[in-house]
């Protein structure tokens, strides 16, 4: 019973993060968080299929490309999976934008980032997002 509710509370997170040091540190932090479940981790958006197959993530943490844009592969994935939420880090690592449809807000600690990821998997915490997604 407890295990079942814990499973429900766990947000499935995928990583598409460069550079490697930041990616591996996020893997460690997410991996040991009781409410987060890491389903895959890659450096390049082109390898994203590896993350999306199997246990589909509810949320992707991604870094922008060198020109500061969202990679085209990521845009395509977002169009195909409209329910997938993105947490976008700038090329330098700063969080620029949380989930789709919500205003940009800055997260500057590891704790705040993990909390954001936990909420990204909780429909109750973001009714406005659900509404927007249902309207699509």
């Amino acid at each position: 019973m407890v295990a079942s509710s814990e499973r429900r509370a766990c947000t499935r997170v995928g990583l598409v993060v460069r550079p490697r040091l930041l990616r591996e540190m996020l893997v460690r932090l997410i991996g040991r968080h009781p409410r987060l479940c890491l389903v895959g981790s890659v450096s390049e958006p082109a390898r994203l299929e590896r993350v999306l197959t199997g246990q589909a993530p509810q949320c992707l943490v991604v870094t922008l490309d060198r020109s500061g844009n969202l990679d085209e592969d990521l845009r395509r994935v977002c169009r195909r999976h409209p329910g997938l939420r993105l947490v976008v880090l700038s090329a330098q690592g700063r969080l620029l934008r949380t989930e789709r449809g919500r205003p940009a807000r800055e997260v500057d600690t590891a704790e705040a980032l993990l909390e954001t990821l936990c909420h990204a998997g909780s429909d109750e915490d973001h009714p406005s997002i659900n509404k927007q997604e249902q309207q699509r």
Binding site: P19, L95, E111
Partner: protein, 217 residues
């Protein structure tokens, strides 16, 4: 237990790194900082500083120099992308103990931290080759300038003392006041020092001293 300060212009990066390093039993993160000023406030409380290369306005090299001044015993590891190998040399010459690439693994970061605490540096074969090339260049420059760094100069303890004060930029009068000796005696020492080092000016002598200190002589 190594006490670590993390300096990164992006607070989230520093915070993520701190959270990861705090999991290690032999490491303690004493603080994080995003600016040179913030970092220097913690400088006395740490054994090792991890500094990002991205601090604005040359902040990384400024911080390295300031840390060396405030806490000469501190180990400094620079963390950067190093698009050019010479970026790495630039920071090592500024006083860094080592360089960790952002494309390295967390395990490699931890190995570098532990090595730095033991007074060692882990470098890739590419960086080792660059360092050797730079040493050869410096030796060539020294030879052209008539400076022989292969042997420590035969200075008396008093001459060494005077040379160190020259290195601090003191005048003969100031040196005399500091050591409680006559100015004439200082002049004799300076003459002897220049002659033994085979250099023509106080500035060259000061440079020589810095080179000796870098070699640990």
């Amino acid at each position: 237990m190594a006490r670590i300060l993390i300096v990164d212009e992006i607070r989230l990066n520093a915070s993520v790194m701190a959270a990861v390093l705090e999991e290690e039993e032999d490491l303690e993160v004493v603080g994080t900082a995003t600016t040179v000023e913030e970092a220097l406030a913690h400088a006395g409380a740490c054994d090792l500083v991890l500094v990002s290369t991205g601090l604005p306005e040359g902040g990384t090299t400024r911080l390295i120099a300031a840390l060396r001044e405030v806490n000469p015993e501190v180990s400094i590891l620079v963390v950067g992308l190093a698009r050019e190998p010479h970026d790495i040399l630039h920071h090592i010459e500024a006083g860094a103990s080592g360089y960790v690439l952002r494309e390295d693994s967390v395990e490699e970061l931890l190995r570098n931290i532990r090595a730095a605490r033991r007074g060692r540096a882990l470098v890739s074969p590419e960086i080792a080759a660059l360092l050797m090339e730079r040493i050869a260049q410096l030796a060539e420059l020294a030879a052209e300038s008539g400076i022989d760094l292969s042997q420590p100069p035969d200075l008396t303890p008093r001459e060494r003392e005077v040379l160190e004060l020259i290195g601090e930029g003191l005048t003969n009068q100031q040196i005399a006041d500091r050591l409680f000796i006559e100015v004439g005696t200082v002049k004799n020492h300076v003459h002897s020092i220049l002659s033994k080092l085979n250099v023509g000016s106080r500035e060259e002598a000061a440079r020589y001293l810095r080179a000796l200190e870098k070699k640990g002589l």
